[in-house]
């Protein structure tokens, strides 16, 4: 029963909220994660499941995203107890509850094949993530949360608007207006093209806001910068990917309607714009968590760019969805540790992390190499696949731009990362006496192992899932 994927985390969230013992509570998150992961694994084995009369369907695309989100959450969940132990005197009840609710709503969003329901789910996911951002309870985090909430809500309000346009194009096409994904794909050939175009543009902007494509990315640096590293990982690897999934669904509809070229063109443009903006804002970035936010903007750009290129690029993009998520997890968790170690996220105060928090700094450096697409890490495989798709497609100028952006981003990001890890730590920082703990370093290590694995040996089940998903996107 697919609904379990949604119910279980929500229920556990409620339990966590109600649990009196602050000792026990953090461990409910891993519990929920394990349960969710187990369920996910079970459903991934199944051919294809549906529920609520086709409103909830687990199709190949959904399998990829769901599987990844579940994995991401599983690893991050085990970071929670260690992290909360580092932050004594914080109210953990809302935090843990919100985490689990976040997982539940994200699952709902992934499963739902009714665009309206999808909208409801992603809005709820946004709302449930607001308390996570506000965890630090200071002015900065308050401001970040406000911006995240307002911009996000407006964005997905637009998304709903777009969904209506889509429904209207069906209505105009002479069918009953429906927001069921299957109906839309089935009736796609009859959809009214102008409405479809407008609908896709609005949806791209709407869900693009949630995904963090430039120039709708403005909430990202604030949110990722002020949220705990763990939340950053979940947003960058979870919620953004859900929004991406939504966009993928509309690309599918456009493709079915024979308007794939139109959609892909927009995606390529948005992708390059996002990468450019990321590169510009990373240059000389003094705040390493904001830097990670821009890196996330860049990689969202790469995702849509890959889809826009199409062909092999589609597979590359889906592969990158996984690789980028893993890399971001690695980066955010290690960055979180460094933040704890130095008590600051400005590179003026943070230098020589390799000496103060050796493991985390090394992980951070590795994460940097991974996310910038160095062989043999996973992201290299996906970015290289996308590049090849562009070149073999004869789009040399586009490929050249893509490489140029990668270079700019690397130059900017490298400067900041190296400033953080290398050199001598200040005496104030040394005085803090931070110690690496297993629970805070372990999950990051797992991420590192996985991201390397994706680069040197992609397990056949995984590549099978990815190929199926890519195929389902490619059908015109």
């Amino acid at each position: 029963m697919l609904l379990a994927l949604v119910i279980v985390p929500l229920v556990l969230g409620a339990v966590a909220f109600a649990t009196p013992s602050p000792k026990l509570r953090p461990w409910l998150v891993p519990l929920g994660a394990v349960a969710h992961a187990a369920l996910t694994l079970y459903f991934l084995m199944q051919p294809a499941a549906a529920a609520l009369g086709g409103w909830l369907v687990l199709d190949p695309l959904g399998k990829v995203v769901l599987g990844f989100v579940s994995l991401l959450f599983l690893i991050c969940a085990f970071y929670v107890p260690g992290y909360l132990a580092l932050r004594p005197g914080r109210k953990t009840s809302i935090f843990c509850a919100a985490l689990l609710a976040f997982l539940g709503t994200m699952s709902l969003m992934i499963l739902s094949h009714h665009l309206g329901l999808m909208w409801v789910a992603i809005e709820s996911a946004t709302l449930s993530s607001a308390p996570l951002l506000y965890f630090n309870r200071n002015q900065r985090s308050l401001e970040a949360t406000w911006k995240y909430l307002l911009i996000g809500s407006v964005g997905i309000a637009l998304a709903l608007f777009g969904s209506f346009f889509l429904a209207y194009s069906a209505l105009k096409g002479g069918m009953g207006s429906s927001l069921l994904f299957e109906d839309l794909v089935h009736d796609a050939p009859h959809l009214s093209i102008p409405w479809l175009h407008v609908a896709f543009v609005i949806l791209l902007v709407g869900y693009g806001t949630k995904m963090g494509l430039a120039p709708m990315h403005t909430w990202k640096p604030d949110a990722y910068g002020e949220a705990p590293g763990l939340v950053g990982a979940l947003l960058a690897g979870g919620l953004t990917n859900c929004a991406f999934l939504a966009i993928l669904r509309f690309v599918q509809i456009c493709g079915a309607a024979g308007e794939g070229a139109f959609a892909r063109h927009l995606l390529v443009v948005m992708g390059l714009v996002s990468m450019a903006v990321a590169g510009i804002f990373m240059a000389g970035q003094r705040d390493y968590k904001r830097m990670l936010a821009y890196s996330s903007v860049e990689h969202m750009g790469i995702l849509v760019f890959g889809i826009g290129i199409g062909g092999l690029g589609t597979f590359g993009a889906l592969l990158h969805l996984v690789n980028n998520g893993l890399g971001k997890g690695l980066l955010f968790l290690s960055a979180g540790n460094i933040h704890r170690a130095f008590g600051s996220k400005r590179t003026e105060d943070v230098t020589g992390a390799l000496r103060l928090a050796p493991a985390s700094a090394a992980l951070f450096l590795a994460g940097f190499f991974a996310i910038t697409g160095s062989p043999p890490f996973g992201p290299f495989m996906s970015e290289f696949t996308i590049l090849n798709a562009a070149v073999t497609g004869g789009r040399f100028a586009t490929a050249a731009l893509f490489l140029l952006m990668l270079a700019i981003v690397f130059i900017g990001m490298g400067a900041t990362v190296l400033r953080v890890v290398q050199g001598e730590p200040s005496d104030i920082a040394k005085a803090r006496g931070y110690k690496e703990r297993f629970l805070t370093v372990g999950p990051a290590v797992v991420f590192l192992v996985l991201v390397v694995l994706m680069g040197v040996y992609i397990p056949s089940p995984v590549s099978g899932l990815l190929h199926k998903a890519a195929a389902s996107l490619e059908l015109q």
Binding site: E123, A130, E143, W146, V154, L160, K172
Partner: protein, 213 residues
């Protein structure tokens, strides 16, 4: 398509302009609430012959948009003990003009799109677009956090109008979900506004700009 639709839609448009023009915060909230109520009525009128569910949707809209949310906002106002002016970035006349121009453009935009016959006559879609634009204008030109919330609300209203055009696409459950989300969203925003006014001793979101490059 019943003819008694357009007057209500015109009323919605007028409320948009009023929202842009008024200087009083209470009035702003009130008019947005009124707009909600009108929308509820609209929903009922559009599918008047339809079954119980249309009634439920309409009722839900009226209750949530027309009563609960305004209550929340008034409460937030009281808690924050803010004085009453709206404090826009740009004057009221310019924003009125913007609204008017927006409404005009919306009509033109609706013309460019191929409508189904029964919508050709009505102002349904132009109203929707215009309301969405109004929401955006309020969101981008008003200083106070609470007015921005109202802006968001108006944006939603515009979308709701669009939804009226295709009710069977939005079954009751989803419609309810949307309303619920809206409600929770506003609730959370209200809470945050509360914190803001405590932390910053003001709701002026222009102050909320310490996070920047």
């Amino acid at each position: 398509m019943t003819p008694s639709l357009d007057p209500l839609l015109v009323l919605v448009l007028l409320l948009n302009l009023f929202l842009l023009g008024t200087t009083r915060l209470r009035a702003v909230i009130g008019s947005s609430a009124l707009q909600g109520v009108v929308l509820g009525v609209l929903a009922f009128v559009v599918h008047g012959h339809a079954a119980i569910e249309a009634f439920l949707v309409a009722a839900g809209a009226v209750i949530v948009k027309g009563f609960i949310i305004p209550r929340l906002l008034y409460k937030a106002m009281r808690d924050a003990a803010i004085h009453r002016e709206v404090e826009p970035f740009i004057g009221f006349i310019p924003s009125l003009l913007l609204g008017a121009v927006g409404a005009g453009l919306s009509v033109l935009f609706a013309q460019t799109l191929p409508l189904v016959p029964e919508h050709k006559a009505t102002l349904l879609l132009p109203t929707s677009f215009a309301t969405v634009l109004t929401g955006f204008i309020i969101l981008t030109t008003r200083r106070k956090a609470i007015t921005q919330v109202v802006g968001y609300l108006v944006l939603e209203n515009g979308i709701f109008v669009m939804g009226l055009a295709l009710l069977q696409a939005m079954p009751l459950l989803v419609e309810a979900g949307v309303l619920l989300d809206l409600f929770v969203g506003i609730l959370v925003m209200g809470i945050i506004i509360n914190h803001i006014s405590r932390e910053f001793s003001s709701m002026d979101t222009a102050r909320l700009s310490s996070l920047k490059e």
